[in-house]
Amino acid sequence: MRVEDANVARHDGCGTEAGSSASATVPTSTLCVALAGNPNTGKTALFNALTGLRHKVANYPGVTVEKRWGTAAIGPARCEVVDLPGIYSLDSSSIEERITRDVLCGRQAGARRPDVAVVLLDPFHLERSLYVALQVMELGLPTVLAVNFMDEVRRKRLQIDLERLEQRLPCPVVPISALTREGIDRLTATIQQAMGDGQRFVASWPWCDGGNDACATAQQRYAWIGKQLDGVLVYEPRHSDVRVVFDRVLLHPVGGPLIFLSIMVLVFQSIFTWALVPMGWIAGAVDACQALIHRWLGGGLPASFLADGVIAGVGSVVLFLPQIVILFFFIGILEDTGYLARGAFLLDRLMHKVGLNGKAFLPLFSSFACAIPGIMATRTIENRRERLITILVAPFMTCSARLPVYALITAALIPPITVLGVLNLQGLVFVSLYLLGIVAAAVISMVLKKMLRSDEPSHFFLELPPYRMPQWRGLLTTLWTRARFFLQTAGSIILLLSIGIWCITAFPRPASVRRAFAQERQLVTLQVADEAARAEVVAGIERRESAALLEASAAGHLGRWLEPAIRPLGFDWKIGVAIITSFAQREVFVSTLSIINSLGSGSDGATALEDTLRSARHPVTQQPLYPPAVGLSILVFYAFACQCVSTLAVVRRETGSWRWPVVMFAYMTALAYVSSLIVYQGGRLLGWG
């Protein structure tokens, strides 16, 4: 961001309105090129072709529009390239269109006024893509028009007279194919040339005098474009049969929704099966790091800080990276092929009924891997109320962080009996938890729709783009950027919180407890002669010591203090501590329970932990401490509770205030508490307690 700020300062005075470009006076080393155009015109592919992997992603300050920029070699100079959001016009009210306009005018904080605008045109939709191009030209910036998909144009035998078009327009027109890098050299040469003669593009447009309303202006613009395009389309083949055939199947009234469901199931299946392998590697690497630290630093406090605080905390975020990357891979394919828009088309009716929008499909779908990218994906929803509702219900989707909790509790506390002849009860509970999340999201959306009053009308305008093959190279670049972005944003917050949680579980460390265990250890050293047996006993003592220290720590006190409140849900203080420590991340629940239950928190501890939980007895009554009713209560609690600080932080960033994260945390926790209470007390009445 530093470079950006410097540029903003220098460009502060310029560019309040069209025609004030001063490209001749700008030093050649810091020229700036902006890429604009409709969605689905291959803007990102051109951006990648120009900048390679040298690009960055961030937000424009104060707003949630993503800013992508990088550097490219334009002639002898290194040039900054900014990828603007895909838009259909420059003066509509959507946030993306406003930002694009402000960037092009040099009014956007955190971005400098571009020296040249490159507008991408889609040769198959020339009229509409020229509409944005015309609006960019009206701003008075030196403009270069790049007609993309030229390889496809030849393949489909479309004949366009681009020379004729260029003669009529006040700016150069370059045919390119961003994917095959065809024409990129000519494009950069044209950009370089355009930087020199900025004045050439200052034209006057009759409809820019003011006084016209937006509709009349649009009419004049389209009329002008129609005149320029006259005779340019030499031969247009009948629109593609591929689209007709595919849409007939994929948007079929009955078949379409069925295919949609199958695709979703397939994607989830792949996410979970494919991700297991790299997740195993990462878990192994985290374990190895922890072991290495303990070998180097021994068992002292600094080692614990690094291994159990920093490494475990950061590792648990990195652990979910494979699932997120695989999910984005599928989203990328569905987006490239044009299927995402079809999904939104099929779902809009259903979504609208519960107060959402067809465009909420992608964010909610992403939230099954992780609510953070899901919430960031709500930016495409224009209606503020619909966007807010989508953000507020996204955490109900069963994210991957809930899986370790669900896996442990179902395996340990739900009896593996067969119900209705064929269904395994554990599997049934697992599937029900997924459905529970979806149903909760629908119900809460309907409630929020009633509660949040809004005058803003809800619309759904969505272009259904032509079907295309996925663009593998661009997809990999996007995945790489996404992965980095995810690690940066989630990782920094998680790191700080992990340190905080480690502190409350590690302190205070009463000297009396430590002395007692030190004495016990000494005694064993004297009494047990056999070395192997002694090591085993000492290890047992150490586990009990860490459990005792945890009980005496701030987190332990908190658990005891919390116990009266969570007793009605069937939770004891140990589960209370696990709920507190897993406040930042749900999966910490498992490792906390395993520490408290005097087991190592290593990855092989899971099976042993199941047995410990199942066989835990009340010291006086000898009743099972965690009967099935408690298991169900824990599961329901984790299905609803907002135990994820990263989500709250993202909601804060996306909504711009602390109000909504606070509301989200409060209502989700209340819902979790009440539901758990009903489940536990109901379960006890049914005799499962």
Binding site: Y88, S89, D91, S92, S93, F124, H125, L126, E127, R128, Y131, D213, A214, C215, A218, Q219, Y222, H239, D247, L251, P253, V254, P257, A341, A344, F345, L346, D348, R349, H352, G358, P457, H459, F460, F461, L462, E463, L464, P465
Partner: protein, 89 residues
Amino acid sequence: MFDRSELVQRAMAHRTLSGLAPGQEAVVQQIEGRDDFRDRLAHLGFLPGTRVRMVRRAPLGGPVEVRIRGYHLALRRRDARHVVIDDAS
């Protein structure tokens, strides 16, 4: 003022995009509704005189898909009801 025959007449006169059958083509006459809604549609190319063709209607009252100015756009039926159309000339 609002006698029945006039209402019927008005209903007859106001053929809208949402009533178009798949495959049928028409010409946009005018857009009704709020200014921002009309502006949005104008930018998307819905202007008096523009040809528009109904491609398909999503089941159960879902959105409609129309072809206008060479591209395909999905919009809700309720919004399509604000697009007043004439027969294709």
